[in-house]
């Protein structure tokens, strides 16, 4: 158990330290570490966590760190109380680098923030973040989230329709994420996905 707690701490510390590019880039990192590398949960469980993180108050990064810390402990067979400890530790770890960084910045960087070296680093980071989020999307397009033609053709076809609906609803009609999530969830119940 100590090992798992330590791994959670270290993982989220790294994510906090290198989490450039906002919430969705962070989602990609959490996915990489938590699902692909450590196998603490399945891609389906992770998708549910992202759904909850998007539709509850607070930053997505904090929400998902809290939820992942809890789920990783409970999935490993520990009681919910240990899950709470896991989420506490993960949240603490993900904000820890921010302290050092912001204190440093308040002393130095605010004065010369148009530093060319910083600009150089970001000329590499910005395009990479686009790739990170694209990869997260591609990894989420699996049979656990969409089912498959052979496994459950009904759910597979409806899933693709819901995907297209959600995409168009947000991109073209600017519907809010929470409303889209609630609509698709309700459709899931009515259609018996």
């Amino acid at each position: 158990m100590i090992t798992l707690l330590f791994q959670l701490f270290w993982t989220f510390f790294l994510i906090g330290l290198f989490g450039f590019g906002g919430g969705y880039a962070m989602i990609s990192m959490i996915q990489g570490e938590v699902v692909e590398h450590h196998h603490w949960m399945t891609m389906g469980q992770f998708t549910d966590i992202v759904a909850v993180s998007q539709s509850t108050p607070g930053p997505i990064g904090i929400n998902s760190a809290t939820y992942v810390g809890y789920t990783a402990m409970v999935n490993a067979g520990y009681a919910p109380a240990w899950g709470v400890l896991g989420s506490l530790l993960s949240t603490f770890a993900v904000v820890l680098p921010s302290f050092a960084l912001m204190l440093f910045i308040s002393k130095f960087l605010m004065k010369h923030r148009s530093n060319p070296s910083v600009e150089h680093v970001f000329s590499g980071l910005r395009p990479a973040v686009v790739g990170l989020i694209a990869a997260a999307t591609l990894l989420l397009m699996n049979s656990e989230n969409f089912s498959s033609m052979s496994e459950n053709p009904w759910r597979f076809c409806l899933s693709i329709m819901l995907f297209v609906f959600a995409f168009v609803a947000q991109k073209v009609y600017r519907l809010g994420a929470i409303l889209i999530i609630l609509l698709c969830g309700t459709a899931g119940i009515i259609l018996g996905l």
Partner: protein, 180 residues
């Protein structure tokens, strides 16, 4: 100090959808109501915090907390921004644990999953626009996505390499290319 706690607790509580949705609320509270800093100062802070790693709203709250009350203020800022998330998520996690096997809950989440994937696909296009992709750097996201998706490379590693490569290219190589 209590004002600081209350302000950032509210900011954490009332912003759904995260990150940049918080900016108008932060501006209203911090500049207009409490007058903890000028609008120009806050705009500078937002610009810096956006290019920092970590969670945007937490970075802002740590900075303002530190400005007002030093180290203790920074801690109060961070805790008050995280607390609403923490309480909400834990409540949901504990409740969800019990209803996970329920058929309706399962149908509900099966319906949600494709929508979540779509909601993550959209920022790709938005970020591509703000990253000013052109024919010289458009290969970077393609290669990055390929390495993560097919080869299973860690996104953290990709970010590290991209940052270092951007620095090296900008500092040492760009001028050479320009001369040739």
């Amino acid at each position: 100090m209590l004002e600081l706690f209350k302000t950032f607790f509210k900011i954490g509580l009332f912003t759904i959808g995260g990150g940049y949705a918080m900016i108008p609320l932060i501006e209203q509270k911090v500049v207009d109501e409490k007058q903890w800093m000028s609008r120009e100062e806050l705009l500078d802070l937002i610009a810096v915090a956006q290019s920092c790693p970590g969670i945007f709203a937490v970075n802002i709250s740590i900075f303002i907390g530190n400005k007002l009350y030093g180290g203790k203020g920074a801690m109060v800022g961070a805790v008050s921004t995280c607390l609403p998330s923490f309480l909400c998520i834990l409540t949901i996690a504990l409740v969800f644990q019990q209803f996970r096997e329920n058929t309706y809950v399962s149908h509900f989440f099966h319906g949600i999953r494709p929508a979540v994937v779509a909601l993550i696909a959209i920022p790709v296009f938005r970020m591509a626009k703000s990253a000013k992709l052109n024919r010289y750097n458009a290969w970077i996201p393609v290669i990055a996505a390929f390495l993560i998706w097919i080869m299973g490379v860690s996104p953290i590693f990709i970010i590290l390499v991209a940052g270092v490569a951007g620095y090296v290219y900008g500092k040492y190589l760009k001028d050479d290319f320009a001369q040739n």
